[in-house]
Symmetry: C2
Subunit: 232 residues, 2 copies
């Protein structure tokens, strides 16, 4: 069986978006799809996902999690391909994504060459219908992101190193699709020890300057699980 990886890259900048690419190959011709690649014989799934990320978006060393395997025999036309999906998250403002590799040999029955045409961010509610089961994979990855968000401090991967409480609140609101009371959000998040208060202030906006905060790095060491339950 052929095995591939597909990556759902989520980015944040006021809103949650997903990065999709357009490429030519028998199955994706001219449709926006998740960046993906065949897994090489001597390559682990994580390595394949990292390589894919670099080749198709230019990203390196970013947060990456396995979401799951999609293996329906009918999910692809032609040869059966099992795909393992990954979720990547970044601060959108920090990177300018663009495919690094413009053409690759597409390993399948026909073994054609595929051209990577371009990549583009889509707001979640403006995401087009994706080919094969990529829409399902993207939605599963989003559910996975929401779940992970609850008990692991991954929110900081989606923000600049220094951020205001408002930005963090906007992120929570975007991910959970809720409205939060700024006053209560502030109290709750400050009572946890996730944040470090900085002596710097945001220079944006036409009103009072907001204090900047950073993620408390000590927390990163104690793996995930348990400690971080943060519901709203």
């Amino acid at each position: 069986m052929i095995v591939s990886v597909d990556c759902a890259i989520f980015g944040f900048e006021r809103e949650l978006s997903i990065f999709l690419i357009k490429r030519t190959n028998p199955y994706f011709k001219n449709k926006w799809s998740l960046p993906g690649s065949i897994v090489f014989e001597d390559e682990s799934l994580e390595d394949a996902a990292e390589r894919t990320l670099y080749e198709l978006s230019g990203l390196k060393n970013i947060y990456l999690d396995q979401v799951g395997a999609f293996g329906d025999p009918k999910r692809t036309k032609g040869a059966r391909i099992l795909t393992v999906s990954f979720m990547a998250i970044i601060d959108k403002s920090k990177y300018n994504l663009e495919p690094k590799v413009k053409n690759r040999t597409f390993i399948s029955q026909t073994n054609e060459e595929e051209l990577i045409l371009s990549g583009k961010w889509f707001k979640l509610n403006e995401m087009p219908l994706l080919p094969q089961d990529h829409s399902e994979i993207a939605h599963t990855a989003l559910k996975f992101l929401r779940q992970k968000f609850r008990y692991s401090p991954i929110c900081f991967e989606l923000l600049p190193e220094k951020f205001t409480l408002k930005e963090l609140q906007d992120l929570y609101q975007a991910v959970y699709e809720v409205q939060l009371d700024p006053s209560n959000f502030r109290k709750k998040i400050l009572k946890s020890n996730w944040l470090v208060e900085l002596d710097e202030y945001s220079q944006q906006g036409s009103s009072r300057k907001a204090r900047l905060y950073a993620f408390n790095m000590v927390l990163q060491e104690q793996g995930d699980e348990q400690e971080f339950v943060f519901d709203f």
Copy 2:
């Protein structure tokens, strides 16, 4: 690449246990391992997991969830095998597990026949070291179970249809490895609408008879997610 499925079957009866099997084949010779099987060419991963479950434990129509893919190129000696792991949970007292298929053709380079010798329950802390990366898979499945437990009412899969609050409390204690105050547990769980109070009483024990409860079936329909956050 060869693709297989492996199942971590968890059962409850006072304690959490896992069901392992012993079989002969080049890689598992005489070691306890997770029940697993090669995925056939025209079979979905879920179908393969269900078939495996039936062939190696006799279970049919039980709760099953995909945990994830394990695809390190060095996880198996010989041909590379990617495995997708599943987690199954049952009320241990309801079934008497035993392999239904005693020998199968083992699809690999050598294509030998494998004999399924026996199956046995192991308490979690008495689980032996498993071959290949099966120990890692089992631990990942357990973490998955704990996680799922929080926000999905899967606890009822592990109990008889009618159960006492004490039994439910024991289950929570076993899964989360904590001690709970019976009085407070009772209040919290009864305030949720998970349970239906029955007019029946347990006939066990040499003291006051405990009232029996059942799962509120209405909840089963509204899929998982959100509604069911139940921490202790």
